[in-house]
C-alpha cells in the first residue's frame, strides 16, 4: 500500500530533477562537437588584412601544423587572449594564422599596431564568408590544423597560458611526432 504513495512521489521528484538540470544546462554545443573535426579545411580565398592585394588560401595550411585563431576587435575575450597569442609567437613553436572575423579593417589594423601582431598571416573576413564555411559560432575560436590541412580540433573561448601549455602545445607536438597528421581523438 505504501509503495502506491511513495513510488509516484519518487517518480515525480526524479522528473523535477531531470527537468531542473535541463533548465539550467546551456544547450549550446561543446567545443568538441564541431562536425568539421577530421575534415580538410574548406577551400577559401580571403584578402590579407595587412596587404589587401594579397590573397590567402587554404594552401597556407600545408607543410606544418598550424593554429588558426578567429578574432575580432569587438570581442572582449580576444583582447584577453591577445597577450597569450603574442607569447605563442615569441616561443616560435607553432605558427598562428589569424582570421579577422566580421570586423572593421581600420579598427583591426589599429588593434594589431597597439597590441602587437602575433599572426604569421591574417585573413580579413568581414562578411563571414570563410567563417561560415568553418562553422564559426563565436569569437575567439582556435583551430588546430595538421600539415595536410586537416582540422584536428577546435576550441571555443580564449587561449590561456594554461590551456596553451597543457593542451595546445602537446597536441601540436603529438601531431608532429605522428608525421604531421592528425591523431584520432581516441588515439591521443
Amino acid at each position: 500500500m505504501q509503495t502506491r504513495v511513495v513510488l509516484p512521489l519518487l517518480i515525480f521528484i526524479a522528473l523535477i530533477a531531470v527537468l531542473g538540470i535541463g533548465l539550467f544546462n546551456d544547450p549550446k554545443p561543446e567545443a568538441e562537437d564541431s562536425p568539421m573535426i577530421g575534415k580538410p579545411i574548406p577551400a577559401f580565398t580571403v584578402p590579407d588584412l595587412l596587404n589587401p592585394d594579397q590573397q590567402l588560401t587554404q594552401e597556407l595550411f600545408r607543410g606544418d601544423v598550424k593554429l588558426l585563431n578567429v578574432w575580432a576587435t569587438w570581442c572582449p575575450s580576444c583582447r584577453e587572449e591577445h597577450a597569450v597569442l603574442n607569447a605563442v609567437r615569441d616561443t616560435g613553436v607553432v605558427e598562428v594564422i589569424g582570421l579577422d572575423w566580421k570586423d572593421d579593417r581600420e579598427k583591426a589594423l589599429r588593434w594589431l599596431e597597439r597590441l602587437g601582431n602575433p599572426y604569421a598571416h591574417t585573413g580579413f573576413d568581414p562578411d563571414n564568408k570563410v567563417g561560415i564555411e568553418l562553422g564559426v559560432a563565436a569569437a575567439p575560436e582556435t583551430y588546430v590544423i595538421d600539415a595536410q590541412g586537416v582540422i584536428c580540433d577546435r576550441y571555443i573561448g580564449p587561449l590561456t597560458v594554461t590551456n596553451v601549455r597543457d593542451y595546445f602545445l602537446p597536441l601540436v607536438q603529438s601531431i608532429r611526432d605522428n608525421g604531421g597528421a592528425c591523431l584520432s581523438r581516441a588515439d591521443r
Partner: protein, 174 residues
C-alpha cells in the same frame, strides 16, 4: 480618466511596434512559393549564438548571415531543402537543426517515444488480462494457476501443516 488612458497608451506604445517587426531583411524572391519555402526553412535552422531561437526569429548578426546563406544556397546554387539543411549540418553539427536527422546516434531519441508507448500498451494489456482472469478464475479452475483463496498449491500445503502444528501445540499446552 483620459489622462490615465493616455498614460497607459504611452507606456505600451514602444511595445506595439516591435512585436511585429521581424528581423528578416529585404530579400527579393521571384514568387510567393519560394518566399514561403525560405521562411519555412529558416524556421527549422537554429541560431547558433542564441539560447533557443531559429535564425528566422533572431536579430543576431550571425543569424542574419545564416539567413542570407540560406537565400544564397536556395537561389544561386539551387539546393533543395535537404541539401541546405545538410550544408548547415556539416558545418555546425546537429545543434543547428531543430529536428535532428535519424541516424545511428539519434535513433534512440526518435524511437524512444514509440518504444515507451509500446511498453505502456503491453503493460495495459497484461493488467487488463490479469483483472479479467481474477474475476473469471473462480468459475474456470483449469485455466487459473491460482487457487480460489489466492494461494498456490504449495502455499496451501504449507498453511495446512502450520495449522496442524498449531493445533498440536495447543493440544500439548492445553
Amino acid at each position: 480618466m483620459l489622462r490615465a488612458w493616455l498614460f497607459a497608451l504611452l507606456i505600451f506604445l514602444p511595445f506595439t511596434s516591435s512585436i511585429h517587426a521581424g528581423p528578416v531583411e529585404v530579400l527579393a524572391f521571384p514568387d510567393q512559393a519560394t518566399e514561403e519555402r525560405f521562411h519555412r526553412l529558416i524556421e527549422q535552422i537554429r541560431c547558433i549564438k542564441c539560447q533557443n531561437t531559429s535564425i528566422a526569429g533572431s536579430n543576431a548578426d550571425l543569424a542574419r548571415d545564416h539567413r542570407n546563406k540560406v537565400f544564397e544556397l536556395m537561389m544561386e546554387r539551387g539546393m533543395s531543402d535537404d541539401e541546405i539543411k545538410d550544408w548547415f549540418l556539416a558545418r555546425y553539427g546537429d545543434f543547428v537543426l531543430y529536428k535532428p536527422k535519424v541516424d545511428e546516434r539519434t535513433w534512440l531519441l526518435w524511437g524512444l517515444p514509440a518504444v515507451l508507448i509500446g511498453l505502456g500498451l503491453i503493460l495495459l494489456v497484461v493488467q487488463l488480462r490479469k483483472r479479467s482472469q481474477s474475476t473469471v478464475s473462480s468459475s474456470s479452475s483449469s485455466s487459473a494457476p491460482v487457487a480460489p483463496s489466492g494461494l498456490s498449491d504449495t502455499e496451501q500445503a504449507r498453511l495446512r501443516t502450520l495449522l496442524n502444528d498449531d493445533l498440536k501445540d495447543e493440544s500439548l499446552s492445553g
